[in-house]
Amino acid sequence: MAGNYSWPPMETRRQIGKSYTRFDGIEKSTGRAKYSSDLNRPGMLQTAMLTSPYAHARIKSIDTSAASKMAGVTGIRVINGAGSEVNWQSQEIAIVAATSEQAARDAVRAIKIEYEVLAHVVKEDDLSKVGDRATPAGEQVTGDPDKAFKEAEVISEGQYGIPVLTHCCLEPHGQVIEWKGDVINFWPSTQNVSGIGGDLAKNLELPATQVKVHMDHVGGGFGSKFPSDRWGVESARLSKESGGRPVKLFLDRATELNIGGNRPSHFAKIKMAAKKDGTVTGWESTSWSTGGMGGGGMAPLPYVLTNIPNKRLNHTAVKTNGGPLRAWRAPNHPQASFLTCAALEDLSAKLGMSPLDVLAKNVQWAAEARRDTYMEQIKIAREKSGWDKLWHRRGDSGSGVVKRGLGLGMCTWGGAGHLSNCNATIHPDGSVEVELGSQDIGTGTRTIIAQVAAETLGLGIREVKVKIGDNAFPPSNASGGSTTVGGVSSSTRIACVNALDKLMEKVASSLGAQPDDLVAVDGKIQVKNTPAKSMTWKAACQKLGTQSITESGRNDPRNPRGLNTQGVAGIQVADVSVDTETGVVRMNKLVAVQDCGLIVNPRLAESQIYGACIMSICGALMEERIMDAQTGRVLNPDMEFYKLAGISDIGEIEVILNISPEHDKRGIVGLGEPPTIGGIAAIANAVANAIGVRVPMVPLTPDRVLAALEERRA
């Protein structure tokens, strides 16, 4: 048995594969869970941040003298002083620390500042208007696209766009920080417990060992909460300058939406060449995007169907004076999926074919490893969405005011487990601890770790104490890229197997067996296939005397030992109703057929997919950062006009997760991101199917839907 880390066979599992409720659920739903933003520490200072009201300006002068004399103010740090240029609205200028939030905010308003306002570009939807802000990336050609288009039986063209979205984490970015002597205690809101301390240390030019990171819960990150950020660095300095008082800074909502991260936009003109049977033979796309002053990279086009033989791709990055992009749940994939699937749907409509059939024709262009899965999923999606009954040719949706339509989206993702280290400790009293410098971003990480440890040690999940959220624990990578469950499960498995092996060595002689003949099951250590020869877990652990066993486990992404792998496929089908008099789109249903590997906890896995689907509904129907070209301002940095779906806006969601021995044997594959990818495409296509015309730009707000309908009539 020693060193056998493989997952136990599906049919013998006691803990893995069970739908336990999440470990910290009751803490959260009784309001007792303490997020970093909930911390109140003795002597804690509050802060307020002065940020730029302009999208682009030079700071001519800044005078903090009046502010610094105000009651309660303990310190001011200027981030961008006289002479600096600020390049987007809400860029950080200064932070005030004070004894109360009110005092800090009053002081911010007392800072005298003069700006020289500079020219800005904040809109990129019309590429011809961005001037020198455009940076073409150069043309990529594969095969012979000219020939493909010359010989094409059908050519379909369209232009599509998807705007900048903001993460809008409910817990804003920020931290409580306390720099006393040589030690910085740092309570951030992060997806990166093991890494953020080093990032802060680097920014402060200190040894990483001086930063102690603690975080029990994080109120959403979605890819935006990896770095220590300027506000973290300056808060640390404010703490030091105040003699080590804790300093709390969390962004207000408007600042959070403006600089707490956003997903780049993506626009594309796409041309497809095809045969009459739907086989795509050529692809041309001219695309552009922005994610702030860094421009925006090209989404993976064509999406999924990457092996279309003849392609010409042109992409232009556009620098705009908006907050900088951050990774956003499946970076660039939702955009790519929308652009590709919209073009595919338009081609299908032109051919008079069902997009499911057209996709099936073109699955040959997908990565070989996923082709069978997509074909299987097309079948499942057809059945579960009622496709054969509900789908109709584009616009052939009856004479009523409310038109119903179905549409298709797809996804792919990697999701291999990240680098993760775990220490598993078995104490002589039988108690067990596992420690990882990881975090639970809503996934249910604690629960999953407990299930893996309990499975390995033959215990109940509540008999395992899971310790995460501290950089004193063995490092695990950040939670991004759907890598956490694979990473922490694998390292936990390895650490627990190693610890158990050590325990077996101690107790084997008492059972008259070799360590390799022992198994841990149902709270006992027993001789394999001989239940009569056993001892309780507690009795076994007592054999340790006074010495606990601590063993480590490491998931090395270069050699995951079959415990986790990467690569998933997914198909989503949306069923919508469009009121063609108002342009209001209502979700009837979203069906998500999602490929997966080994599922540790089906309930939590499903929750990820439900959540991902809902996020895509928001993106398809209402979310959009709205910029004003005149003032350079974000006009909706709030939760009123930066619209998110409410509980009655999402229709029904059906998740089909294929948990089977065939998929299980691949090991764990990440699941948090892939189901968020295809929904926007599916919904946009369903609307086109319903109303008979493509709404080129998402979100599908009433103005856009009505404009498309009007164009169709004209």
Partner: protein, 211 residues
């Protein structure tokens, strides 16, 4: 419903009250801070029987939270939410939009759900305030909290306390809701992780359990 009072005498007295106060305010209006002379005048007037103004500095405020009298010293501009979070360490209610839109700060005041971010603490005096901390404990959770766990109606959990309070307030008024009523009854709360499917199930399940 309260009775309507005779308004005739109110008219005459209002006029006199107005002119005096208006004058005083004119004095104070030129600077950002309210002059001490003004406060003295107002205190004098308060002594004559009018309702005194409070603030703008910190004033003692007594809040009845979860059945317990709590005293805080806060400026009138401090919201109930901030008083709870910053002064009383009641941090279950969250500050998210801070503009009365998202529901993360939902509390129950005199039996009705409210957004605590748009209630002044000073204005919440004399009211029965229930926060998530008064609804149950992890050891003895309220059925709504338990149902949220059972149905995995939470991911990051930051919207959860507000949702639980909104659901509690909703079920108090609609003990046996239909699915459609659940959707309509929780229209004042937003979640970013996308837990609505679980929330709907949780509220229906809670409605079938005895509180």
């Amino acid at each position: 419903m309260s009775k309507i009072h005779e308004e005739q005498d109110g008219k005459a007295q209002a006029k006199g009250g107005f002119s005096r106060r208006g004058f005083l305010r004119g004095v104070g209006a030129t600077s950002g801070a309210v002059g001490s002379a003004l406060l003295t005048e107002e205190q004098a007037e308060a002594a004559q029987g009018g309702s005194p103004s409070m603030g703008p500095g910190a004033v003692p405020v007594t809040l009845n939270i979860n059945g317990k009298e709590q005293k805080v010293n806060v400026e009138p501009r401090v919201t109930l939410l901030d008083a709870c979070r910053n002064s009383l360490d009641l941090t279950g209610a969250k500050r998210v939009c801070d503009r009365g839109t998202c529901g993360a700060c939902t509390m129950i005041m005199n039996g009705k759900v409210v957004y605590a971010c748009t209630v002044l603490a000073i204005d919440a005096q004399g009211k029965q305030i229930q926060t998530i901390e008064g609804l149950g404990t992890p050891q003895k959770p309220h059925p709504v909290s338990a149902a949220f766990v059972n149905n995995d109606a939470q991911q990051c959990g930051y919207c959860t306390p507000g949702f639980v309070m909104a659901a509690k307030g909703f079920l108090d008024r609609t003990p046996k809701p239909t699915y459609e009523q659940v959707k309509a009854g929780l229209g004042g709360n937003l979640c970013r992780c996308g837990t609505y499917v679980g929330v709907r199930k949780a509220v229906l399940e809670a409605s079938k359990m005895k509180a």
